[in-house]
Subunit: 426 residues, 2 copies
């Protein structure tokens, strides 16, 4: 079986942790697996290097002015971790070889600091596997079509791992992190929160888009498109139980045979939201288009757009933006509204969005009602709502976020095993 | 004019130092020069990374067990420094691009941790120069003929700089360090020691081989073979005087038109030596060959070999080895002597070798005599001597090293300007 494993920064945060990871890799090798291991930079390395760049340049965000050089700088972090982990694995008595993103031929576009993967060639990784070696690949990095060193931006190492698993047609992709898996809700805030045993890629993307930090939606998207099963699990627990059929973290998979049984997977809150309500607008597609274009041109990302019509035939638009972009967005919209015939704008900050995620939600009666009832009983006022095929997202005051999450978690009985699993247990 | 500049680890040891180097580079650019800048890892980075590797592997010398991975690890240091320096130069308003050893196409053999340069292609460095960019190259590193990342070992960044200067046919190569240039002797120990204004490559190699740390002989050797003039100077002094004809560091050059006038360039001591005297040996080439082969096979490097014959027709061999290898060498020699008919071995540790370096020494009467007279007057007993065309090396007790250096420095009046310059002032 060909396994791609990825270890995050906290998993390799110290020499001792690196040795622990090496033992885990060696154990998987002893079980007979071929292995490709993707590794992030140790602990705070990336932050430390960014600070160094700030001190050298006198800029708070050196990446804005020096994107190419920031990529050259930051990729050193994963290179260091890859080399050290390779040594530690060799000390376990197994042959291993480290590769940079360039050497692994992770080909990206030329968009420094946030490059997108175009193609994964991985010729030397395949050679290493053919030679019976464990291949260690520096995460988060690639080489552009212009032969420049690039980084993949947020979720980069997860993305490297899943893309490699897709390219190598690996049997599984394991994402090791510092938590036990993907939770139904944040366990620090919701006492009954549980690890989700199985969910679909779409559900995971919805969870990630709504603030679940454990895995980046971008990597899940690649897994979705190439049919890569992804297992999220902790590198901090002993892995001796691995062969004994004990539950191990969260499996993200396409195999959704028992979907109809089930409703909700998890509850994911995301704070720092603002709501803008535009009233008295000239109706018609042109208004919305011009307004959304104005926001896009000014770098404001928009979420949860609703439109409605008042009794006077004028249009109303409601949208959410990140809180820190609220005043900028208001300014941009005001300017854009003028040639459109004007309108009022009201802004409200201090909001959180809470997503209820679950495949099979569409067309299922009572989900909406149950959610609203739970929030009403908890005294949480809903400030807005939007839906997708696999989620309902409500906007609530940020100070009521925890009560809202707990209320929803309880109402859908997510604390009970089985209720939260998007697919049947295997 | 195309200039290659190299900055050592202490020259880029902090964000402030990097900014200072960037200003120096920018000044050279303002003077109209095209520039390639080679940079070492910041301050203690290489030591810190080696310590990390020791902690991960539990080995004192991880490079012995994991040479490929140590190269992957350590090259991150120069990559970081190159990226940061490039940002700092860009902040000065000049276009700059950093390159790793691979990107600069410094092609080496496959000998990890101590690779030799086979060829410098530097295609992307040329492109950058053609685009009007300052090219920053990570020193100490290359890419092997097997596409592996390699390091050049000791003196690696100097070697990168001189090799690039040779490949690009640069007009000059400047090595910036934390001292003012190459001294006639260590100024901390010899009060009259002066910066040598000019010397030949051969003289510099002799100085370096005898412990002058400021520049590695290997880089000088490349400069010698490709006719690259090398200037050694301090990055810690203001460079405003640069265009005013003031003396600037030490120039290492082939232009030796006034050679016959001059005798001695400098005095370089090197401690930690041991002397082995083998007596009563069967005479003949075979004895020496077998003994030297035995030492080589056991990794003992030998220096200053002398042979002589006693009245009984038996041969005597005297050789020096690094002090820490003395007991191992004695053991190896004892075993090797047995099938050769035996012999006695006497070892003496606690010695230093002191080289008097100067082109034009050969055939010049009185140099030897003057050196011995100076040492005799200072009460330093000479334990051995060897010569080359441009040096005399004496072996003295380590505790008398400073007196010996001072005595020789004084006897040859190296404290006087002009006396120590291997070529005419320009």
């Amino acid at each position: 079986m060909l396994l791609v494993q990825k270890y995050g920064g906290s998993s390799v945060g110290s020499p001792e942790r690196i040795r622990a990871v090496a033992k885990r890799v060696a154990n998987a090798r002893r079980r007979g697996h071929d292995l490709v291991v993707v590794v992030s930079a140790m602990g705070d390395t990336t932050d430390d290097l960014t600070t160094l760049a700030s001190l050298v340049t006198g800029r708070e965000r050196p990446q804005d002015e020096h994107p190419r050089e920031m990529d050259m700088l930051l990729t050193a972090g994963e290179r260091i971790a890859a080399a050290l982990l390779t040594m530690a694995i060799r000390e376990q008595g197994f042959e291993a070889r480290s590769f940079t993103g360039s050497q692994a031929a992770i080909i990206t576009d030329t968009n420094h600091t946030a490059a997108r993967i175009r193609e994964v060639k991985a010729g030397r990784v395949r050679e290493a596997l053919d030679d019976g070696c464990i291949a260690i690949v520096a995460g988060f990095q690639g080489v552009s079509t212009e032969r420049e060193i690039t980084t993949l931006g947020r979720g980069g190492s997860d993305t490297t791992a899943v893309a490699l698993a897709a390219a190598l047609k690996a049997d599984a992709c394991e994402i090791y992190t510092d938590v036990d898996g993907v939770y139904t809700a944040d366990p620090r805030r919701v006492p009954g929160a549980r690890v989700i045993r199985t969910l679909t890629h779409a559900e995971m993307m919805e969870m990630a888009a709504n603030g679940a930090q454990v895995m980046h939606g971008r990597a899940v998207d690649i897994g979705d498109r190439f049919g890569v099963d992804i297992r999220v699990l902790s590198s901090f627990v002993d892995d001796d139980a691995a062969d004994e059929g004990a539950p191990r973290g969260t499996l993200i998979t396409h195999r959704t045979q028992a979907m109809e049984e089930l409703v909700l997977t998890g509850v994911a809150p995301k704070g720092g939201q603002a709501k803008l309500v535009l009233r008295g607008l000239a109706p018609g597609m042109r208004t919305q288009t011009v307004l959304l274009e104005a926001l896009a041109e000014n770098g404001v990302s928009v979420d949860m757009v609703n439109e409605s019509f008042g009794g006077d035939g004028r249009m109303q638009i409601q949208l959410t933006v990140p809180e820190e972009a609220a005043s900028r967005a208001e300014e941009v919209l005001r300017a854009a509204l003028e040639p459109l015939g004007g309108g009022e704008i009201a802004a409200q900050t201090g909001l959180s969005r809470i997503a209820l995620v679950g495949n099979g939600m569409t067309g299922r009666p009572g989900v909406y009602a149950k959610a609203y009832r739970a929030l009403l009983d908890a005294g949480v006022e809903v400030q807005g709502v939007s839906t997708s095929s696999i989620s309902i997202t409500v906007l609530v005051p940020a100070e009521r976020e925890t009560e809202a999450v707990q209320a929803l978690h309880g109402a859908f009985r997510l604390e009970q095993t089985g209720a939260a699993d998007g697919v049947a247990e295997r």
